[in-house]
Symmetry: C2
DNA sequence: TAGATTGTTAATCGATTAACAATC
DNA sequence: TAGATTGTTAATCGATTAACAATC
């Protein structure tokens, strides 16, 4: 199941398709066309067909795509047909939020360990999990076959945590800290950088506007 | 200060430049070249020069860019030279995390009001702010001249909250809920969709790998 | 059969990169 | 002056969209 060189843009659309398809499945919709998908997701139908066609012929001409079948296929492509273990470092507000989201991530991703550098937090229970000290990270991650590491620590600590994850052998890192981290090239890093999102949003505000109707 | 049609990609790089420039300024670095920036941010220097040139001639040939001057310019472009008020709806884990981040967003964005639909949370204090009931959203947002709304509620409630923000006159919305929201076209929506980021990360994992050295 | 919709090729559009004259 | 680096034009690359034959 090897695929050609797929662009990042394509890969990032797959989870969007999946989410909508899951909604459709829940509503017992059997079939969906690229036009339906496009209307809902604000995408060009041709783009959707092209995206899917990179991975196989999932549709039927004249009919569209079988919802259940397409869900299975996309899950397979994204490797969500197996459980993927995740570890999180930084049990602060954001880290706790993500742990509790666990339900949300249910789509076969599971946070299976939480770590923190603050001794006061060690042993705290977050959504079934007990917060562990940093010293146990490498061993635990290896033992549990954790494949993705989530970083929710201050920017100054991000690189250090990333190094530990790398040492422990994770394959991907999701970094919420506002910092660029350096890792070996075979390890994939995705950023969730809230500040950048918010600052770029500011660009689109209307200039000035401090004067108001009183 | 009106600019030509700038692509989203360019706008999203500006905050990255800003962040690194701020670091340089703190280290008392006077001057930076597009090559320095590119090395650090993993971008092509030509791209950086081109990005900046959309907005003016900020550099000196043979020298580079003055760090302090460029910081001021980018802040102006992003409209961060004025305080931008932000309101947040959903005082759950994630909402609280973002409120406490307030320090981080200090770059002239300030969360000035927090709302929640849960009666038990009304009046709770989060980082100086008292959680208000949804009924007060429209009035408060108008009074405080809030320009950006942050949504951190469950997906099922996201559209309802967005509608309220729109009614109250915000100019931009930052949506953390895993749901697409519909708003009038003059209102800008940015998504911070953690699930999509994580699922697309899974794509890049190595297939299979459940068998391990034991 | 007529209508709908896919998969795919070709056309278009836009973004990134290279190259270089201008100049500090 | 020689070396460095910008701003900008031209070349390249890649992604999106249009179009349409195949076919359910």
């Amino acid at each position: 199941m090897k695929f050609p060189k797929i662009s990042e843009a394509v890969v990032r659309r797959l989870p969007m398709y999946l989410r909508f398809l899951n909604e459709l499945a829940k509503s017992d919709v059997q079939t969906v066309s690229s036009q339906d998908l496009g209307r809902r997701l604000d995408l060009n139908p041709a783009q959707i067909r092209k995206d899917l066609a990179y991975f196989g012929e999932f549709g039927k001409k004249g009919i569209g795509y079988d919802v259940g079948y397409l869900v299975e296929k996309i899950r397979g492509i994204l490797k969500l047909d197996q459980e993927i273990r995740v570890a999180l470092v930084g049990a602060g507000n954001l880290g706790q939020a993500l742990c509790n989201y666990n339900a949300y991530l249910k789509d076969n991703m599971r946070i299976s360990a939480v770590f923190d550098a603050n001794p006061n937090r060690i042993g705290d229970r977050i959504n079934q999990l007990s917060v562990q000290p940093m010293e146990e990270l490498v061993r635990t991650v290896r033992e549990q076959h954790v494949r993705i590491g989530i970083i929710t620590v201050p920017a100054t600590e991000a690189q250090r945590v990333a190094d530990q994850f790398v040492e422990a052998g994770v394959e991907g890192i999701m970094n919420f800290a506002p910092a660029i981290i350096k890792v070996p090239s075979q390890i994939r890093v995705h950023y969730a950088d809230f500040t950048i999102e918010l600052q770029s949003l500011a660009y689109y505000l209307n200039r000035g506007e401090t004067e108001e109707e009183e």
